[in-house]
């Protein structure tokens, strides 16, 4: 055992419930519990529902931490050790079906808990993380014994961070991601109600969960929850009623679906103009790059589209994060990965030219994408022209950005689409003539060479695209 002092780093996203707190010690993810939370944990381990959920991979594996692991001076009654989540993501980076599956996991866990005299004290979408395309509940501190005659305390939060975003997309065809990204506590009923007027009030879930809920919140703003709990108990609120409420929410979740949209990117793989020979050459190049050194722990696939190269990378890496801008494309990819039972590819909605910033308290409660991206390999296939021409990002900036996403010594596989390529020409046609004189293959190659080492290159058979393997910023 190492005897050198290890650094204790409190998890910035874990402070809202003072009874327990997550912190990092080296590579370990630990959770400190106060006396009451420790008592709840002991009851939880003795329950039947909790070990079953952990065994099914639906709740993150957790065990009592050996006392030797806990640094001196940590003021907790008990300390737990959680399994590591390979890549932490936020609900505003998920697609519609991802958020819906996270919601269904939450309600399934709540139902199982209620049947065993437990409940969850909150209902946040942030309670869920992912093992690839499988959602996993992480907030062990949320479980507590249920008190008879009381409704679910997490319902309001569940509406704000899960149900209202889903209503927005399912009923109005509006992407929820920007709304969730803007407000760490989710969407307030009063913000959404004006959008659901007229006959839209009659869409599933709107009248009760949104309008009635919003009106009730306003009418009861002055009443304390302690009084209301007592009044509900006196009026006969029962466990059966609570269970039927949860079942009602589940039924609604099953009815909500994404409205099909005409997505430009949905056809990309078909229309992007690759020949079969190009594709084979590209796959061989990527495979060679990923198998050249030690097995990568984390691979970022930037502009993943239908996930072809993410799946390829998953064969040679521990975990792949497939980043794509179009929520509809990510949703299709997620559904496909879920059907394949893929646990090592995580699809995320993210605009590379406007990635998730830090959010919440002091801007660190929800870490920005750049803070989380520390990849051993980055695939940037057919994205550079979208950033450099489509979004006017200067080419040197694009290369610097690629270097910033990687751990030292990491591999970058980057595709440069020549200005003569049909896709580049299509992008250039929408811009004033002569705006990008430096968008040339030789200029790009010089930038890569100036920031690292090019270890391999391949011109694709079509002759208008070049692949590079490079180690940047070492």
């Amino acid at each position: 055992m190492p005897t050198a002092p290890v650094r204790v780093r409190p998890e910035p996203a874990s402070f809202r419930d003072p009874t327990n707190r997550v912190f990092h010690v080296g590579d370990e993810v630990l959770r400190g519990l106060d006396a009451q939370a420790a008592e709840h944990w002991r009851a939880l381990t003795a329950s039947t529902f909790f070990p079953a959920l952990v065994a099914a991979g639906k709740v993150c594996a957790t065990e009592d931490a050996p006392p030797t692991l806990v640094p001196a001076g940590v003021p907790w009654a008990a300390v737990l050790r959680h399994e590591r989540i390979p890549f932490v993501s936020h609900p505003y980076e998920w697609s519609f079906t991802m958020l819906r599956d996270a919601a269904l996991l939450h309600t399934e866990i709540l139902r199982a808990a209620l049947a065993d005299n437990f409940t969850t004290k909150d209902g946040s979408a942030y309670n869920v993380q992912w093992h690839g395309a499988q959602p996993v509940f992480i907030d062990i501190g949320s479980f507590e014994p249920v008190r008879d005659g009381e409704p679910w305390a997490g319902y309001r939060q569940f509406c704000q961070t899960v149900l209202y975003p889903l209503l927005l997309t399912a009923h109005l065809g509006v992407d929820f991601q920007p709304w969730l990204r803007a407000q760490v506590d989710g969407i307030e009923a009063e913000q959404l109600r004006p959008l659901f007027d007229g006959t839209r009030r009659l869409r599933p879930g709107v009248l009760t969960h949104l309008h009635l809920h919003g009106a009730m919140q306003q009418r009861n703003a002055a009443a304390s929850t302690t009084d209301v709990r007592a009044q509900l108990r006196a009026a006969g609120f029962s466990r059966e009623l609570l269970l039927s409420t949860v079942r009602g929410i589940e039924k609604l979740l099953h009815r909500l679906d994404r409205r099909p949209t005409d997505s430009h990117w949905a056809d990309y793989q078909r229309t992007c103009g690759y020949s079969a020979r190009d594709r084979t050459a590209k796959e061989q190049f990527v495979t060679a790059a990923l198998t050249a050194g030690t097995r990568p722990r984390l691979v970022l696939d930037l502009g993943a589209n239908d996930g072809r190269y993410s799946r390829l990378a998953a064969a040679y890496a521990d975990y792949v994060v497939a980043v794509e801008q179009d929520p509809a494309v990510v949703d299709d990819l997620y559904r496909a990965l879920r059907a394949e039972g893929q646990h090592r590819v995580l699809p995320l909605v993210l605009d590379l030219a406007d990635p998730s910033p830090g959010g919440g308290w002091r801007g660190v409660e929800r870490a920005g994408f750049a803070e989380r991206a520390d990849a051993d390999a980055v695939l940037a296939l057919a994205v550079v022209h979208h950033l450099a021409i489509g979004r006017n990002v200067p080419l040197p900036e694009v290369v610097d950005w690629l270097a910033g996403l990687t751990a030292p010594g990491a591999t970058v596989v980057v595709e440069f689409v020549h200005p003569e390529d049909p896709m580049a020409r299509r992008l250039l046609a929408n811009k004033p003539e002569g705006l990008f004189p430096d968008y040339r293959r030789d200029a790009f190659e010089a930038l890569l060479a100036a920031r690292g080492q090019i270890t391999d290159r391949l011109e694709l058979p079509s002759g208008t695209r070049t692949l590079y393997r490079a180690v940047l910023g070492d």
Binding site: R16, D17, K121, D122, E150, P151, W152, A153, G154, Y155, R156, Q157, C159, D185, E188, E190, Q191, T208, H209, L212, H213, A215, M216, Q217, Q218, R219, N220, A221, A223, S224, T225, D227, V228, R229, Q231, L232, A234, A235, G236, F237, E240, L241, L242, S244, T245, G248, I249
Partner: protein
């Protein structure tokens, strides 16, 4: 807009759950409001809230 604290279940959010729960729940909510009404009449005029 009402900004509620974290881990504050919200009074209105607790009551509306009864209604969401179906017919039996509506009866519970009705009972709660009926009791509040009766309570108010009983307390008048000495206790104006």
């Amino acid at each position: 807009m009402i900004h509620l604290a974290y881990l504050d279940a919200g009074s209105g959010s607790l009551i509306v759950q009864a209604v969401v729960g179906g017919v039996a729940g509506v009866a519970v909510a009705a009972k709660l409001y009926w009791r509040r009404l009766v309570d108010r009449f009983r307390r008048q005029p000495t206790d104006q809230r």
